[in-house]
Each structure stands twice: as structure tokens, then as C-alpha cells.
């Protein structure tokens, strides 16, 4: 499995988006789960609520610490991943698969253009690692 799949768009805060028509699936990247360590708790917005691009959508807690999740895209939450709430370790084992967080109905497809391409995200995490901070 690629650690940065080519068919996704990325935020600088390490969320990914898989757009399919006007529905987008959102999760966190392999890099993010690796930085977090063992994920033990996930807090996600209710179905029917709306999320705004680059604002907080929920929280992921690892054994070590809590980290905010940011919405890479705006829209109405049409589904949240009940499996990941019950088994937060899916975020570690399948960040791009069963570890997804929410599905939203896209408010503005144009927002996708404000996200990073896989190439840009790869260099983004290269830079992040190079700067020595996390």
C-alpha cells in the first residue's frame, strides 16, 4: 500500500479526501496515524451537521495525546464511520480503508482545488519531517 495514494487529495493538517460525485470521504493519512501512535478514541460530528473547510471537525486521541481533526472540505455530514468509533485502532491499521472518518455531501467542489495533490503532500510531509517538529 502506498503511504500517499495517488487517487486522493490532502490537507496540510494530514487529512485525505476521496471525492466520488458530490460525496467526499474523509480520513487521516498514514503519516498522521504514524505520528499519533495508537489511536484509542475518535470523536466525530453527528450525521446532519455541517463542517466547514479547514475548521475543526472532531478529535482523535492516541494513548499519548489528543489531536484536532480539521475538515479538508465543507459540506453536510451524511455518514460517520461507526466502525472507527467502536474500533479506533482501524485508524492505524487501515487509514485509507476502514479507518475513514466521515462522508460529506460537498458544498463546493471548487474547494478540492485548495487541497494538495499527492505529489505536493509528499513534499509537505518531507518538509514536516525535515523541520524536525511534530
Amino acid at each position: 500500500m502506498s503511504t500517499v495514494p495517488n487517487d486522493l487529495r490532502y490537507s496540510k493538517e494530514h487529512e485525505w479526501v476521496r471525492a466520488d460525485g458530490d460525496v467526499a470521504t474523509i480520513g487521516i493519512t498514514h503519516f498522521a496515524q504514524e505520528q499519533l501512535g495508537d489511536v484509542v478514541f475518535v470523536e466525530l460530528p453527528e450525521k446532519g451537521s455541517t463542517v466547514r473547510q479547514f475548521s475543526s471537525l472532531g478529535v482523535v486521541e492516541s494513548v499519548k495525546a489528543a489531536s484536532d481533526l480539521y475538515a479538508p472540505i465543507s459540506g453536510e455530514v451524511i455518514e460517520r464511520n461507526v466502525k472507527v468509533i467502536e474500533k479506533p485502532e482501524l485508524v492505524n491499521s487501515e487509514p485509507y480503508g476502514n479507518g475513514w472518518m466521515i462522508k460529506v455531501r460537498l458544498a463546493d467542489k471548487g474547494e478540492l482545488n485548495q487541497l494538495l495533490s499527492p505529489t505536493d503532500y509528499r513534499s509537505h510531509i518531507g518538509e514536516t519531517a525535515g523541520a524536525g517538529g511534530d
Binding site: 501512535g37 484509542v40 478514541f41 492516541s62 494513548v63 489528543a66
Partner: protein
């Protein structure tokens, strides 16, 4: 050179941690491994097989001479005078106000020789505390920088240790201590630890640390020993409800409210004795209790709430990988400290239900 941030120290095992892929963080003035493979995997290895810890950052104080036993007995809350050679005991350094300066283990290593292990962050403070009380018939030396400490903990620890020694230190009783050779290196071995499992702590000269570390890792490879970072050390100790100095206990807390009254031998004279006896007689206003939190991970500093009102504070909190619950320690008013009391922890502005439970959260199977 211009002044920079204080330089962090490295233990003699630093290169080993890097080679093992550890994530290194600053801790108590040292660059320490927080995790290697991952906190949960390391935690489980200690509960099911064995784990190896580098604790060389911790402080080691030596006391010897005619007056050593009586001196340490006056300094420490527990019954040090009652230790036979080859025995160790947990206890507290307390001040005249009866609050906690540090928690320590004292080992009687010879007739008139005692070893005290203190928390890394407290070495300088404890040294000053000792020196302020020191009497002429005691020779005190702080060996912290010359001493390495490696702990091997877990149900397979004794079997692994046995293959590296001919001194039978693997059959020490709990809290026993003896001189031994581990991997042909001169060591002091004790059956003590901070994980809630059976295990040993091995004191060696810093120069010998790599040799002992490598020997124990190699001897443990078949049973599945893993190197364990500070992350899992914290989850292990919290499940076993061992206090962490700086989180659960400090100079604003006293042994009675911290649930450490059992470490205080009040029918002897020690620094802080009178204040602690008074607190015990009056009864504590608050108590350190165990909480199970439903729907979020409580962390150090979170508020404890009852009926919308802040009544206390979380001192330690994590997900417990063995108990598979979000567990915490918190100071709460004595009236709300009974097992079964339903409180809440304020996590990111939300009051999340928390129930007072019996501790330890985890007790190892007999």
C-alpha cells in the same frame, strides 16, 4: 559560545535506542525513548512476556557508615530500620509540612550501606534535602551519573534473567536485593519495578550498560522481549496505580490524601511525621481516586465535575491497553470519593461521565 537551552543528557544506552528505532523526547533533562514499536504493543509485551527499560536517568544515592540506617530511617516515611540486609522498601521523602518531596525505594545492600533510588526530575532537589539533614556519621554520595539502571519486567523476566547469571538472582523474593553478575558484569539486582508485573531492576556502572542491555535483549528474544519506552511505562504504572511524581504527588499533596498513608510509619520519628499524623487524625479533605471515563480520554489537568461544578482535577489519565478502558487518577472531595460515585471529567468543554472505581485498575494474575 552564546547561551543555549540547557543541554540534554543522554544515558549510556542512547545509541541503542536510536538503533532500535526509538522516538526520542526530552524527559527530566534527558533525551529518552518514548516508544519503539508503539505504546500498546510494548505495554502488551510486558503484560504477556517481558519488556526491557532503560531507567538510567533515575537518581541513585548511596548512604554508608555507622549512622546510615538511622539517618535514612529519619529521612524516609517507611520502616527503613526494619530492613534486613538484602531487602528493599518503598517510601516517601516528606518535608516538615508533611507534603511529598519525592517517592523513593530504599535498598539495604550491606550491613551499613543503603541505596536510594529517586526520580530523575528530583535529583538536585533531593540531594539538597538530604544534605540539609545529613549527620556526621553518614557518608552520602550521589552516584546518579555513574550508575545505569536497566529494568526487565514481565512474567518471563525471571526466566530470561536466569540465563544471564549464575547467582540465582532470578529467585530473589519480591523486594529482595543482592549483588550479582549479569552477563559477567558486576551488578546489584533487585526484584522491584513499576509496571504491576514481576520483574527486576539491575544497577550497573554506566560503562557496562550496553553489555547488560544487549545480553538481556538477546536472552529474551525467544520469549518475545521488547524494549519499552516511557509511553508504555506510564500506561503500565497507571493501570497498576503507581503514583507518578509531578503528576499525582508533589509538594502540594500529602501522603494521606494521595492514598500513601500505608508508607508512613507514624510510630517512628521522621521528617514530616507530625504534620502527617495531624492530617491523618483530621481526615483528608480530598482523596486521590481511580476513575473509569466513558467517552473520552481524561488527561493530567482536566477538571472533575459534579452537577456542573468543578470539584477536582485529573492528575493522570490514559487509555489502559490491558484493562481496555479510559482510566484516570484524580483528586476529589472525600464525600465524592466512594467507589461507585458518578462524576464527570470536563474534556474539551464537554462533561464526560466518570465513575470512581477500586484500584489498582489492573492486578496481575496469581
Amino acid at each position: 559560545m552564546a547561551t543555549e537551552a540547557p543541554t540534554l543528557r543522554r544515558t549510556p544506552l542512547y545509541d541503542k535506542h536510536v538503533a532500535l528505532g526509538a522516538k526520542i523526547v526530552p524527559f527530566a533533562g534527558y533525551e529518552m525513548p518514548i516508544q519503539y514499536e508503539g505504546i500498546v504493543a510494548e505495554h502488551r509485551a510486558v503484560r504477556s512476556a517481558a519488556g526491557l527499560f532503560d531507567l538510567s536517568h533515575m537518581g541513585e544515592f548511596g548512604f554508608r557508615g555507622r549512622g546510615a540506617g538511622a539517618f535514612v530511617d529519619r529521612l524516609v516515611s517507611s520502616d527503613i530500620a526494619g530492613l534486613a540486609v538484602g531487602q528493599a522498601r518503598y517510601g516517601l521523602l516528606t518535608n516538615d509540612r508533611g507534603t511529598i518531596v519525592d517517592d523513593v525505594i530504599v535498598y539495604r545492600t550491606a550491613e551499613a550501606e543503603y541505596l536510594m533510588v529517586v526520580n530523575a526530575a528530583n535529583i538536585a532537589k533531593d540531594r539538597a534535602h538530604v544534605l540539609a539533614h545529613l549527620t556526621k556519621d553518614v557518608v552520602f554520595d550521589d552516584r546518579s551519573l555513574d550508575t545505569a539502571l536497566v529494568a526487565i519486567q514481565g512474567p518471563r523476566a525471571a526466566g530470561i534473567l536466569a540465563t544471564t547469571t549464575q547467582d540465582h538472582s532470578d529467585s530473589l523474593p519480591s523486594f529482595g536485593v543482592m549483588p550479582a553478575r549479569i552477563a559477567a558484569v558486576k551488578a546489584t539486582v533487585a526484584r522491584t519495578g513499576y509496571t504491576g508485573e514481576d520483574g527486576f531492576e539491575v544497577f550497573i556502572a554506566s560503562n557496562d550498560a550496553e553489555r547488560v542491555w544487549d545480553a538481556l535483549l538477546a536472552a529474551g528474544s525467544e520469549p518475545g522481549i521488547k524494549p519499552i519506552g516511557l509511553g508504555a511505562r506510564d500506561t503500565l504504572r497507571l493501570e497498576a496505580r503507581f503514583s507518578l511524581y509531578g503528576n499525582d504527588i508533589d509538594e502540594t499533596t500529602d501522603p494521606i490524601e494521595a492514598g500513601l498513608g500505608w508508607t508512613c510509619k507514624l510510630d517512628k520519628d521522621f521528617t514530616g511525621r507530625d504534620a502527617i499524623a495531624a492530617k491523618k487524625a483530621a481526615g483528608p479533605e480530598r482523596k486521590l481516586v481511580g476513575l473509569v471515563v466513558e467517552g473520552g480520554v481524561a488527561r493530567h489537568g482536566h477538571e472533575v465535575v459534579k452537577g456542573g461544578e468543578v470539584v477536582g482535577r485529573v492528575t493522570s489519565g490514559t487509555y489502559g491497553p490491558t484493562v481496555e478502558k479510559n482510566i484516570a487518577l484524580a483528586y476529589v472531595p472525600t464525600a465524592l470519593s466512594k467507589v461507585g460515585a458518578v462524576l464527570a471529567v470536563r474534556i474539551r468543554g464537554k462533561d464526560v461521565p466518570a465513575t470512581v472505581v477500586k484500584t489498582p485498575f489492573y492486578r496481575r494474575p496469581e
